[in-house]
């Protein structure tokens, strides 16, 4: 029984982190229709920005986190302006954009390792993850509770933004049909830029939280990205709510999967889940 609630808790915690990655990934996919493989490195950028500000320079952690999130957002915005928007204007195919994003990912990751070394760094000071609490017979750290709550809060915030504002309407219009959106006078280039900022900022937030929970490393992006992408696809790619659902399903399956097989197989388990979905339900849980 205790194992069961611990597995569920672990699944929810992992799912909450993946959900943050999936939120930004899906938001960006919705308006640009390409797999932005550089999305993961923004988590690392957020983590390292926070690391520099709060651990090296001693800034207040909330302020450090806020600036770290903004740095990730700006980096994502910058990648869009410098690379993707140019390619989009040329009507490049989504494979070209995918390869370009792979290039952005590789370059940014290399830059992080050169600046900060490839070593593993932990963000939390004192005991890892803060004090442990007992919950439904399982153990959860304070950091992990923060992850769960901020993931849900980010989703609700993003949902409110998309439902209630003119910006949200513009985003949905572009997702439906970019040509039409442009014809009715939406500045699609600018809206897409903002979408990159918001999506990347959420990824940066995920990176900081992951850094508190375990730690940061320049190569952390690939793992987080793949989890975000898998969550998005099994949830229904381009559908932000589906992505969140997919993230929790992925977190749970992974953690139940390693109940019986060694934990090193986690990544393989998640890809098997993806492949099963692609074969039997390619449109994901929630169709776009």
């Amino acid at each position: 029984m205790e194992i069961l609630s611990q597995l569920i808790l672990n699944g929810v915690i992992a799912g909450a982190l993946y959900a943050l990655m999936a939120l930004g990934f899906n938001l960006i996919y919705g308006v640009t229709r390409f797999f932005n493989l550089a999305h993961g490195v923004l988590a690392a950028i957020g983590g390292y920005a926070f690391f520099t500000l709060s651990k090296t320079l001693g800034l207040n952690i909330y302020l450090g986190a806020a600036i770290g999130v903004a740095v990730a957002g700006l980096a994502g915005y910058g990648f869009d302006r410098l690379v993707y928007s140019t390619l989009r204007k040329r009507k490049a195919s989504n494979l070209v954009l995918l390869v370009a994003s792979l290039g952005v990912f590789t370059t940014a990751q290399a830059a992080l390792s050169i600046l900060f070394t490839s070593n593993f760094q932990t963000l939390s000071s004192g005991e890892a993850g803060g004090s442990a609490l007992s919950l439904f017979g399982g153990v959860v750290t304070r950091t992990q509770l923060v992850i769960i709550f901020s993931s849900i809060a980010s989703m609700l915030g993003l949902a409110a933004l998309l439902k209630g504002t003119m910006f949200g309407k513009a985003v949905r219009a572009i997702s439906d049909d970019e040509e039409v959106a442009r014809m009715v006078g939406i500045n699609t280039g600018r809206v897409t830029g903002y979408v990159f900022f918001i999506g990347s900022a959420i990824a940066g937030f995920a990176g900081i939280l992951a850094g508190f929970d375990t730690g940061i490393q320049p190569t952390m992006g690939m793992g987080l990205l793949l989890k975000g992408v898998i969550a998005s696809i099994i949830g229904g790619v381009g559908n932000i709510y589906g992505g969140v659902l997919g993230a929790f399903l992925l977190g749970l399956v992974e953690n139940f999967g390693i109940w019986k097989i060694p934990g090193e197989w986690k990544d393989a388990v998640s890809f098997v889940l993806l492949i099963v979905f692609l074969i039997f339900r390619p449109q994901g849980i929630m169709k776009r």
């Binding site: 954009l97 995918l98 390869v99 290039g103 830059a111 993806l274 074969i279």
Partner: protein
Amino acid sequence: MDYILHLAILVIIYAILGLSLNLVVGYTGLLASGHAAFYGIGAYATAILTASLGVNFFVSMAAGIIASAGAAFLIGAVLSRFDGDYYALVSLGFNVIIYSVFLNWQGLTRGPLGIPGVPRPALFGIEFSSGVFFLALAAFFLALSFLAARFVARSSFGRVLKSIREDEKAIQVFGYNTVYFKLAIFVISAGMAAVAGSLLSSYITFVDPSSFTVMESVFILAIIIFGGLSSLKGSVVGALVLVLLPEALRFAGFPQSLAAQMRQGVYGLFLIALMLYRPQGLFGEFKL
């Protein structure tokens, strides 16, 4: 001199990888992003068979080709249902799964410790242990791979592959069951990659999982995109430039400790620049 021999052998190994991957990416238009998996299967087949079981190198290479082609057959059976960015993603996923196997099937691969003591090839009492002899052997296999790739590319089969790249539905209507063609070229390409893997493990006399990550697959992809999609000459030139360029950076005074990161940074930037300014690469006939 040894240094030059070393670089020449590396260029040859990557040229074989490039040639084989180009058949799938350049000719068939399928963005296979997991080539390192098959490279790894060839390397492990040689390491396990020669180091642990004392089998002759050339026999181990044949076994590696068969193992790799067999794995590609199973993976390709799933993969050939997809195209476009999903193909890229799922092939990358299989790279992660195979990498997990290298890392975690301790009984077979010794996990992260790797397999040391892989002997240099020997045939009829001639040992290819010196650098020059090994270079000659590697060059022989490069020539063989080049001829094989050209044979495929110039056959009617090669023309059908190109038409799949251009419009898969349209060529189906003219009577080709394209799934079989996609599967066949994937298997052929994987078999060729295993040759490169065999050469690697026998040359370095050691094999461990870190040589077969997704990043390695991205590097091979960068080689062929730089050299030119659906250009065999381009694959060889691409390997030459992308293997040698980071070495040139070392001579320009960048510290040795950052070599790996510099290499990544360079080919990341190459990918971005190519997508922006020359998506068909140096000698390419085909744009993604």
